[in-house]
Point group: D2
Chain length 334, copies 4
């Protein structure tokens, strides 16, 4: 309450708290009175009090997410995608081209990343592009090529779904649905994906707080899909020397707040292929359960994201370093 809040103002608030079925507990301090509001989902009534006189500030105490929280579930979750377990003590490398461009390049990349140690293949069929004048992806044809690559190589495949109406068709082809950074708060999409049991890679919104990210996971979990893997992919800051600022702090922070596995996308997080290697190693050392890396046989001919894609050679080099690091840190590669 404000310094000069009257007894009547305090009483009015207590009355309203009780009308909502909540409990008010009053602390009178030297400088001001604090009214604690307790009860199930008390936070959702916050705005009902915003206009009442005598209030200095309303401060939330509880976290607004439940099922995603570490308090709800103490043990780390493990998400199974195809034959692979994403979770504690292991590192899962997901690699492949930004976009599926054609069969030849996809097969070449798939075999190469498999040989280097990746366990899942990524590739975009439906592409969210900032400009309407750039390549928009192959659509369902891209999904068919991914399914063929899986059949040939045995790698599980991950691809983005952008629209609630596409969930069913994408889910038929892939092992893991990706929700992209621009769709982290696309609630109709989250609800639709939440209704399936398909594993989900939920990328952090480029300007989303960790709390909002976990609330988006909560949409999926509360609809019944427990197979959620979080992916830190860089946030938007004032620094434009890199495409985004990879939030390395978020890796151990999310592990404190949530039981869900968290992986890192150093390709988007940096936007510059020469930084992908060092930042991948950093992510592993920080405790990420996986990496999502863009690889292209000829980045200079890529239809999208060439600047941040590794060549196959560079990816091989990086995988050698990652393996050495995992050995030193007692992490299994899966």
């Amino acid at each position: 309450m404000a310094h000069d809040a009257t007894e009547e103002q305090i009483k009015a608030i207590v009355k309203k708290v009780e009308e909502k079925g909540l409990k008010a507990e009053i602390s009178k301090g030297a400088e001001r009175t604090v009214i604690g509001v307790v009860g199930i989902n008390a936070i959702s009534y916050r705005e009902a009090f915003a206009h009442m006189p005598g209030i200095h500030e309303i401060v939330p105490i509880s976290t607004p997410y439940k099922l995603a929280s570490r308090e709800f579930k103490r043990e780390d979750s493990v998400v199974r995608v195809g034959d692979v377990n994403i979770g504690p003590g292991t590192l899962t490398v997901i690699a492949g081209p930004c976009s599926v461009e054609n069969e030849h390049m996809l097969m070449e990349t798939a075999w190469a990343v498999k040989k280097a140690g990746a366990k899942l293949l990524r590739g975009g069929a439906f592409k969210p592009r900032t400009s309407p004048y750039t390549f928009q992806g192959l659509g369902e044809e891209g999904l068919r090529l991914l399914a063929e690559a899986r059949k040939a190589t045995g790698l599980g495949v991950v691809s983005e779904v952008m629209s609630p109406g596409d969930v069913e068709v994408v889910a038929q082809y892939v092992d893991m649905l990706q929700i992209g950074t621009r769709n982290m708060q696309n609630y109709p999409l989250l609800q639709e994906v939440g209704r399936t049991q398909k594993p989900v890679l939920l990328k952090r919104g480029m300007s989303s707080t960790v709390e909002e990210w976990l609330l988006s996971a909560e949409y999926l979990l509360s609809r019944g899909n427990k197979n959620v893997v979080l992916c830190e992919r860089g946030i938007r800051t004032f620094e434009h020397a890199t495409r985004f600022t990879l939030d390395i702090n978020a890796v151990p922070l999310v592990k404190e707040l949530s039981h869900l596995p968290v992986i890192v996308d150093p390709s988007h997080g940096t936007g510059k292929w020469s930084l992908v290697g060092p930042v991948s190693l950093a992510a592993v050392a920080a405790g990420a359960s996986g990496l999502l890396i863009e690889v292209h046989p000829k980045p200079e001919e890529a239809l999208s994201d060439g600047a941040q894609s590794l060549t196959i050679e560079a990816f091989n080099d990086l995988m050698s370093k990652i393996k050495k690091l995992c050995t030193a840190l007692d992490i299994k590669i899966d």
Copy 2:
């Protein structure tokens, strides 16, 4: 090019530029050589060069949007919504509740904002909510209530559409489709709305640059929908004392870069009802063609956004000040 780029590296780039059907123009300077790449849509080939040796930096010169640009169309566009013209020299006030909650409150608000001078009625039926545990809107029932309010008051109505599959149904009921901040880069939605001729209120993404915002407008324009109104509604910054930071600079900047009308949402831009008045006046003075203001008969009982909603009384006061200001600045209220 880098300081120490070789002649061969320069030649390789020129060769590649020409292979793409573009023209390379070389400037040899005291410190470095600059290669200008010119031709239609040259910028889309940018990534094809990112891996080539000898390059110091690739700097875009052209703006990537065309139809939205002031260079493409010199005169200000005017967008007609119902009986109202949104464009230069006029101020259009759109007001109403955050969510349509029930018939009674909607009618009360509609009549009150009309009486105060608002020309369009806003109200959310499909609501994007950060938490899955809060009120998600009445859906189509909300749209029906909006249509009734239009019939009764004659006010045109504006409501948000969140999913491509809902565009048709929402367009049947409303005079203007709103694309919310979380959907500014929801490309399937933009494409679907772009196929209609329904006026669109395109809110700026909370972490979108002005360039990205104009590129999203370009999605709509290039699909054939020319009736686009831009809405600045605050961006996400380090300052959390207000819900967002309203980017007042964006108003005159967008008017320089684009012919599209731009309006301002001071309710979301501040998140605090006591700041809505001063910031509304600021927006008008900066040249906005309209305002989008949340009004609720009893903000303390609102199911969403109560903290930033004006009471009817406060809205009346504000409209008096706005009228005085418009008179001084020779702006017509429409």
Copy 3:
């Protein structure tokens, strides 16, 4: 406290609170226990608790500034600079070149801005420049020229001080000391300026929260200098289409939180001369008590900030609009 905090953990915290001479008030809720800590300056002990087991989160309630707060002093402060009162109900325009370059241009500018209605003259003598290779200002010679311009025109003068060792000399020449954005948290400088009674223009740090800004004012006030005017000058955000993002919300917000006058610098806040006019009008409409505007007779020859400086002609035009606006809003120009 955490959900699973034990009685012993709660007792340990209460014991420690009491050892610090503070009072602990306990609220046991449905989901968790909240311990309110009350007492003079309780917030400064915050870190002493950060390592104790069983704590979920420590949330500050009091504002950490006192003398700058509206709660401490209800009435708006008025700061007198030369013959001018900066405070409520008036608009004070401070104008002049970014840097004092030579006597001729300074005199020309001083007379021109006076004629147009400015009441104070700005001009940099000691310049903080991002690059060591650009013009660093005339130093004391610049101050002498400012003093001459004051003698000739009667305008009070404002200039920046960058170093505690320069406070005395700058204070001899000027009517108001400016503390620049890069020095808002230069505490030795704040302390030295706080010891004088000279009016101070305290610019907001480009990445400072409103709370940190008011804490820097608190440094000045608590050292005995009550003549503090705050200046919003744009904050650093992800948007780089303008030099900074002018935080228009901060104007009414600071007026709620503090009794100190707040003015706006649209020149730095936009970085682009064509935006200075609209944003100046916005600042006046939002309730700013003054404007700080860069004016240069020939911006294209300016040694610094030419891109954001108005020509004398453009400044004249703007002042006409400002006068019209002030008349409409019942604001006196002083």
Copy 4:
């Protein structure tokens, strides 16, 4: 140039470029004409052109720093502090309390961090504090205690200098001067420190770009002090779940752009002791040449930064992990 720039406008610009002693090279493209401006320090004339008609945009090509750039000096610099070499292939751990509080705690910490493997001792004597009401440091007495700790343990000492007038006295006591985040653009301080030969730890401004950071290093280098070590310590972003966002990308990026060594401060970069370990390991894996870690024997009694300080036990644990990691990555600890 703008699409519709006239021949006369182009000629006027070319004329002006040549008047400045620079060279203009013209590329006429399909969409617009580009004028390349070349010559020594061409960038500093940028603003002289901002007001000229017909210009669409002025885009800088050269980097504005020279001595700090990798182009100027290809080999990595090594900075010697006491007996320690900070540079490539080695990891230097600097540890100690945020503030020097008293002799006993300083000695206890110094011996403990030495035993665990730290090579330099940090400790603040002059403290920049956001609030005027919190502990401001022991001043010169703190420096004397640091010098005693060096004598006793043999560890070189690092401490912050905040004011140009203090540079001489601080330099007498310490082995390395720290320039704090709030002073990265305190140019009088940079100039004074640049005149000494004392090694400098230059922290990145919390809202400074990498380019501005290297320009601040340029101030030091251009004054003659070549012993500059850069320190990434977190930047200010919208994410407030951690105190700052540690910019891990900056580590490999700075190593590309500059020859100067870069170290990381995970204590300020996270603000939360439980995140310091994982982020320290990430920094080493990303290629940092050192770490700056806050350690306190009893963080719960610390006068500043207790929440982010490691206990001696936690620091010992972390050093074991760091050693294991360095062995795996062939990094020598020095």
